[in-house]
C-alpha cells in the first residue's frame, strides 16, 4: 500500500515488513535507491501469521520513509532500522535522517537532543555566562536547527554545526545589543583597551591555578565565579575566539575565515585573549576587585 509522495520522501505502509523493499527477500540488506531514510515498525500480531517479518515470524505493520535525495547516499540498511527501540546506538547520520522529513521522528529527535544537550549548554554557558540565558540560547539553537532540518546533511559534523549555530546566534544578539545604544555599552569594550595589571606579570599563572581535582566544593564554586568573571571582562569577540580556539578546536585560520580577517589578525586575537584572561585570573587570585563594565 503506497501513500502519496510527501515532500522529498515517499511513505509506504505494508504488512510483513521488509518483503516489499528488500527484493522480496527476508534477508536484511542495503536498500537500492530510493534510499531508506526512516522506518517505524509496529508489531501487530506478534505470534500469528506465517513468517511475515524478520523478527521471528510475527506480522508487522511498518511505515517506511524513503528519501529520494540521491546526493546523500545510502542512509541505512533494513537491518539497522529493524531495531527501532535501540536509538541510543544510532549514529548521528541516522538520527538526522529520521528528523529531516515531515513529520519528524520525535524519538529520534529526543535521542539527538539528549546526546548533545549538555555539551551545547556548556558551550552556551561559557559564551553568555548566565545559566538561564545559556539554557535559552541552547534551546533557540535547537529551534534553528529544526527550522532548517530539511536541509540538514546527515554525513556532516553535527556537533560542530550545533556549536556554530549557537555561536552565530550569540554573535547576532551581541550585534543587536550594540545597536540598542547605551544599554549595551558594557559590550563595547575596545580591543585596544588595557586593564590594570595586564602588563604586570608579578604572579605566575601556575601559582594561581589549583589542582582542579583536589579542591573542595566551595573553592570550586569560587573558581567557577573567577573564570566567569574573567571571561565576562573579555570583549564578546575575544571570548568567542578563546572558546572557539581552545574548546571548539578551531585553528586561527578557521577563526579568521569566520570573521573574514587574516590569520595573523586571528592569531593576534588569540594572544590578546590569553593575555587578558591571564591578567583577570591573576587579579582575582590577588584579591583585586574586578569591574565588568567597559572602561
Amino acid at each position: 500500500m503506497r501513500d502519496a509522495p510527501r515532500a522529498k520522501g515517499l511513505l509506504i505502509s505494508h504488512d510483513t515488513a521488509g518483503m516489499a523493499l528488500a527484493g522480496r527477500s527476508r534477508t536484511p540488506g542495503v536498500l537500492p535507491a530510493p534510499h531508506l531514510a526512516a522506518c517505524h515498525l509496529r508489531e501487530t500480531r506478534p505470534t500469528e501469521g506465517k513468517g511475515g517479518g524478520w523478527r521471528g515470524g510475527g506480522r508487522f505493520r511498518a511505515t517506511w520513509r524513503l528519501g529520494v535525495d540521491a546526493a546523500n547516499g545510502v542512509l541505512a540498511s533494513v537491518e539497522e532500522f529493524a531495531q527501532p527501540g535501540d536509538m541510543d546506538s544510532w549514529s548521528d547520520a541516522r538520527l538526522i535522517s529520521a528528523i529531516r522529513w515531515d513529520p519528524p521522528d520525535e524519538r529520534a529527535l529526543d535521542t539527538l537532543v539528549a546526546r548533545y544537550w549538555n555539551s551545547l549548554f556548556a558551550r552556551c554557558q561559557l559564551l553568555v555566562l548566565d545559566h538561564q540565558k545559556a539554557s535559552d540560547l541552547a534551546q533557540e539553537t535547537w529551534c534553528r536547527v529544526l527550522r532548517a532540518r530539511h536541509g540538514l546533511k546527515p554525513e556532516g559534523n553535527f556537533p560542530a554545526y550545533l556549536m556554530t549555530i549557537a555561536t552565530n546566534l550569540w554573535r547576532d544578539s551581541n550585534r543587536s545589543a550594540r545597536r540598542a545604544g547605551p544599554m549595551a555599552e558594557q559590550w563595547l569594550m575596545s580591543l585596544d583597551a588595557t586593564r590594570p595589571g595586564e602588563d604586570g606579570e608579578t604572579l605566575a599563572l601556575v601559582d594561581v591555578l589549583p589542582d582542579f581535582n583536589s579542591i573542595q566544593k566551595e573553592e570550586q564554586s569560587r573558581l567557577k565565579l573567577d573564570i566567569d568573571a574573567a571571561l565576562e571582562r573579555l570583549s564578546p569577540l575575544l571570548r568567542d575566539v578563546l572558546v572557539a580556539r581552545y574548546l571548539g578546536g578551531e585553528s586561527a585560520a578557521e577563526i579568521a575565515r569566520r570573521y573574514g580577517r587574516t590569520e595573523q589578525t586571528a592569531s593576534g586575537w588569540v594572544r590578546r585573549a590569553l593575555r587578558q584572561m591571564k591578567a583577570h585570573i591573576q587579579d582575582s587570585a590577588a584579591g583585586i576587585p574586578t569591574n565588568t563594565a567597559a572602561p
Binding site: D110, L205, L223
Partner: protein, 178 residues
C-alpha cells in the same frame, strides 16, 4: 606550565562543570512546537492578515505617484500587528544586501509607529503567491530605522541576490510586535 596550556585547562575544567550543571534537555515535542513558524501555529490569523495585506495594493499605487526622496526605493506594503490593533502602513527599504546566505535589511516606516517598538518580528510574504517566505527579528536603530541580519534559505538567497534597493520588492511585510 605555560599560559596557553593553563588557560586551556581552566576553560576545559569550567566547561566540564557547566556540563554537569546543565538543566534537563527539553523534550522533542516542545522543541518542535517552539520551532514551528507562527503562520503554522495560527494559520487562520495568517490568512486573515495576508488578505488584509493584499488590499494595501491600492495605497501602494498612490504612493508611487508621489515624489519620493532619491535615497530610498519603492514603498513596501506592511501590516503592523500589535496585541490590541493591526495597522496598515508601508515601509521604505533603505538597504538590502544578500550575500553568503545572509540577508541584511534596513527599513523605515513611512508613518511613525506611534509607540516605539524596540524590535519587530518581520515576516516576508511573497507578493505573487502570498505565502510566507522568511521571518526574522529586526531591531530598532538610529533615526527610527529597523535593521535585521538573518540567515535565509539557499533558494531565497539565489532569488534575491540580484535584488537592489531601488527595485520593486517581491514581498510585503507583516511586522509583529513582541
Amino acid at each position: 606550565m605555560n599560559t596557553e596550556t593553563s588557560i586551556e585547562q581552566l576553560l576545559r575544567w569550567r566547561l566540564a562543570q557547566a556540563e554537569a550543571d546543565a538543566p534537563p534537555a527539553p523534550r522533542a515535542a516542545r522543541l518542535l512546537a517552539l520551532s514551528r513558524p507562527w503562520w503554522e501555529s495560527w494559520p487562520e490569523q495568517f490568512q486573515s492578515l495576508v488578505e488584509r495585506l493584499g488590499k494595501i495594493q491600492i495605497a501602494f499605487g498612490h504612493a508611487m505617484a508621489e515624489p519620493q526622496p532619491a535615497r530610498v526605493g519603492h514603498p513596501v506594503p506592511a501590516l503592523l500587528v500589535r496585541p490590541v490593533e493591526t495597522v496598515e502602513t508601508s515601509v521604505r527599504v533603505l538597504y538590502l544586501d544578500v550575500r553568503d546566505g545572509r540577508l541584511r535589511f534596513r527599513f523605515q516606516s513611512e508613518k511613525p509607529f506611534g509607540s516605539e517598538q524596540k524590535s519587530l518580528d518581520v515576516t516576508f510574504v511573497c507578493e505573487k503567491s502570498q505565502s510566507p517566505i522568511a521571518t526574522a527579528q529586526a531591531s530598532l536603530s538610529v533615526d527610527n530605522e529597523y535593521r535585521l541580519d538573518a540567515v535565509i534559505s539557499e533558494q531565497l538567497s539565489r532569488a534575491w541576490e540580484q535584488l537592489r534597493v531601488t527595485d520593486r520588492m517581491p514581498f510585503r511585510l507583516i511586522l509583529r510586535t513582541e
